[in-house]
């Protein structure tokens, strides 16, 4: 079946899978959003326990989505994996540390004799909640603003030293951290804006999840107040990032020569030249806005799903704008011709075909996740219920 597809189609298919995983990851980061709101939404330990258990039942899916996102990138576009992870070393290490400390915090927080104390684990959750969306958002924004690296595959036969033999080399000593202070074309503003947009979006979705799942007046009242504030902040940063994206120069690929060059309004043109992506983006954004509106003003519990699905669609559209229509998705501002494209970074056709068969499992995976989600979320949770649970966080 997949063997019949062209190499380019397989690359596009795998970019679609990456985009889908990216979309689900951003949606699932509502867990991180919730972790930053534990103090704001609760007035006592019982309320905090309700919230911890609410988000704690989902943290592993977010975590797994991140791992699969990384693994899928490695398998389908290994040059991106080796360049970005090996180059933007500090950025990825900070993100990974944030996830390491999250992984134990739910389980250990309330356990007796837990060495670091409950407050420390709550702080870990807060740190993870801030760093994950902000840094991942800023990292994704560099898909449009560029990074400073060079790639030369023939370096592998350079016999002078092991360092000079490295194919992908980062050209600043800050290894990715410069994304938040690079002033060229105001890249730092753009990168920070997407990071903050994701941060506030994660909080918005978390608040809608609280409204959907918690049966406690005190928590719900606080969630309603927080929702308005966070929604406004999300919209400010998201609109700034999106509108500016449409007007900046983009990293285009010459279809004839394969050379990368700067094209004015590239991402706006991408949207106009790919009407399906434009429609996807519009549906996504409208769904998010509708969800926020009905969540705040109509108190609808399904607002969570509107914003969630809208988020997935919007993120997918953003990924499509970054890589399709002859665009370099991980551009280098140090050396344009080192920019990473679907064509120069993809795995071989054989590997993509094998992986495509594996991807047929994704609907089954989604099906059992939905079943498990429904089983676990079949009624609202309250302080009383949590107190009765034998095993809880």
């Amino acid at each position: 079946m997949f063997e019949a597809l062209s190499y380019e189609s397989l690359q596009a298919y795998w970019w679609f899978i990456i985009a889908l995983l990216g979309g689900i990851l951003v949606f699932m980061m509502f867990v991180q959003g919730g972790q930053t709101l534990l103090g704001k939404l609760s007035s006592n330990e019982d309320e905090k326990t309700v919230l911890i258990n609410l988000f704690g039942h989902k943290w592993e899916i977010t975590f797994t989505t991140l791992v699969v996102f990384g693994g899928a990138f490695f398998a389908s576009f290994p040059l991106f994996y080796s360049t970005s992870f090996g180059g933007a070393y500090y950025v990825w290490m900070i993100i990974l540390f944030a996830f390491i400390i999250q992984a134990v915090s739910y389980e250990y927080r309330k356990k007796k004799n837990n060495f670091l104390g409950a407050k420390t684990y709550e702080t870990f959750l807060f740190i993870n909640g801030v760093i994950a969306p902000v840094f991942l958002g800023a990292a994704v924004s560099t898909f449009f603003t560029g990074s400073q690296f060079s790639v030369d595959k023939s370096r592998i036969v350079n016999m002078k030293s092991n360092v000079e033999a490295v194919i992908s080399q980062w050209e600043t000593p800050w290894h990715g951290l410069e994304a938040i202070w690079t002033t060229q074309h105001l890249a730092f503003l753009q990168n920070l804006a997407l990071g903050l947009a994701l941060f506030f979006l994660a909080r918005v979705i978390a608040l809608l999840y609280v409204k959907k799942m918690v049966a406690d007046e005190n928590i719900l009242n606080k969630a309603q107040k927080c929702l308005k504030r966070n929604s406004i902040l999300f919209l400010i940063f998201f609109l700034f990032w999106t509108v500016r994206l449409l007007f900046i120069d983009g990293f285009a690929i010459d279809a004839e020569t394969g050379k990368v060059f700067m094209a004015p309004y590239k991402y706006l043109h991408n949207l106009l030249e790919m009407p399906l992506v434009l429609i996807l983006l519009l549906i996504g954004v409208v769904s998010v806005l509708w969800g926020i509106y009905t969540g705040i003003f109509k108190n609808k519990t399904n607002a969570f799903w509107f914003v969630g699905v809208g988020t997935v669609l919007t993120v997918m559209a953003v990924f499509f704008i970054a890589a399709f229509n002859h665009t370099a998705y991980y551009p280098s501002t140090y050396d344009l011709q080192s920019s990473i494209t679907l064509a120069n970074s993809a795995s071989s056709k054989f590997t993509l075909v094998v992986m495509s068969y594996v991807s047929l499992m994704v609907p089954f995976v989604l099906a059992y996740i939905i079943w498990a989600w429904k089983s676990m979320d079949n009624h609202k949770i309250s302080i009383k219920e949590i107190k009765q649970e034998e095993i809880k966080y």
């Binding site: 090996g86 134990v104 092991n162 992986m355 498990a372 089983s375």
Partner: protein, 523 residues
Amino acid sequence: MEHIDWSLVNWSRAQFALTALYHWIFVPLTLGLSFMLAIMETIYVKTGDEKWLKIEKFWLKIFGINFAIGVATGIILEFEFGTNWSNYSWFVGDIFGAPLAIEGIMAFFMESTFIAIMFFGWNKVSKKAHLISTWLVAIGSNLSALWILVANGWMQNPVGMEFNPDTMRNEMHNFLDVLFNPVAVNKFIHTITSAYTFSALFVIAVSAWLIIKNRDKTYAKYSMLVASVFGFVAIMATIITGDGSAKQVAKYQPMKLAAMEGLKKGSRGAPLIAIGTPKIRKDKNLIESISDDLKGANQDEVEVTGFEIPYGLSILAFNDPNAFVPGVDDLVYGNKEENIPSYKERIASGRIAINALAAYKKAKKAGDDMEAGKQLKTFKAHFKDFGYGYFDGKDMKELVPPVAITFLSFHTMVILGTWFLVFFVLIYLAVMKNNIEKKKWLLRLGILGMPLGLAAQELGWITAEAGRMPWVIQDLMPTMVASSHIETSGVILTFFLFLIVFTALLIAEVKIMLTTIKNGFSN
């Protein structure tokens, strides 16, 4: 390489070793306990006996405490292939990335989805749905081990691929060859059964402690019964696959076998050292030898003395008492009688491959297809020695693994494994005869089994990974060429951060676990 930044390479190796060794403290218990939980819950569902539910819930708490830190230490490993081994990620990413991605899609999602039901779904789904969820957590955990070990097996014995000179990387040509790589299949079974062994030892250790303390004795004995049977089956499989592993090492990684056995000079009818100590130079003691080993000094002068089993190694490696087993010297300096080329010859051949590849790229760029074709032919003829070309041959110790460490790790692991076999039988008999409470010595040995089991786990990995040095991919890519272009100071910083964070979390885990165990089944 005229100039190697060894500090960068070694700190990157140290960081990977640190994270892998920490991760493997927790993984074996997850792999084995998940199945034991599934078995216990099955008995509960079948019999309706609440006693088994109580036993299940106690071990579930232990599982949860351990699982969390296993996840925490595991995430870093996948990403470290990119962060610290960037060249590696490109050079073999086309093959190596696939098992990692499949692991995520097939195993991690299954594990992470059903674990929520396993822990918190007791009152939310039916008994049967809960039981299926518990089994799926066990299957998911073990599937994840399958894929990562397929990836690791491929590094030890790269198959199912071909080098593409245009993309400058190895590309997969046969997925089934990669999946059913004999090294991977054997490695998977050996690793998971040894993990089950450790889990059984853990359950016995906790149960033994409870019996000594006169607490929850009935529950503890039932747990011991399940664990001793589970452990016996597991250690038998571990020993059988261990034998298979040795044969594959002999075939695909002869230098590793020479290091495992401390074999300086090979021979026909080679003896097996049952118990012995490595000695690098006669004027040095064991500690000095290991210290030298870690510094990478003098491996080619290794000597091992000890109790020998005649013909043992030839039989172990090739099922033939007269088979020739090469030693370190035969591989380094060559052995014409046995048709083994020297490393000098292989380095020269590898150099030809590398130079031909560079010339091929140059000719391609210049549009000289004839010259490119000629260079490609040369490259292909010498590709099997490609990785050797990165060595200059001035110091042969660079090509020999740390013999003392590999030898000691391997032999200690084997001795411990043999003891576990006897131990499970003793425990089973004592529980069945209902006199385990009286056998305090056996209970104390039971507690000791836990750290010994963990040691055997880690030593197994040290044997496998230290023994394959200097290769990150056998014969194709030395570790020194695989690293990223980052400052050594950055790696040192993250190394110590990992060390501090992982150690703090380990202390937390141990303290929480001990408190939970002290509370016993009744609380």
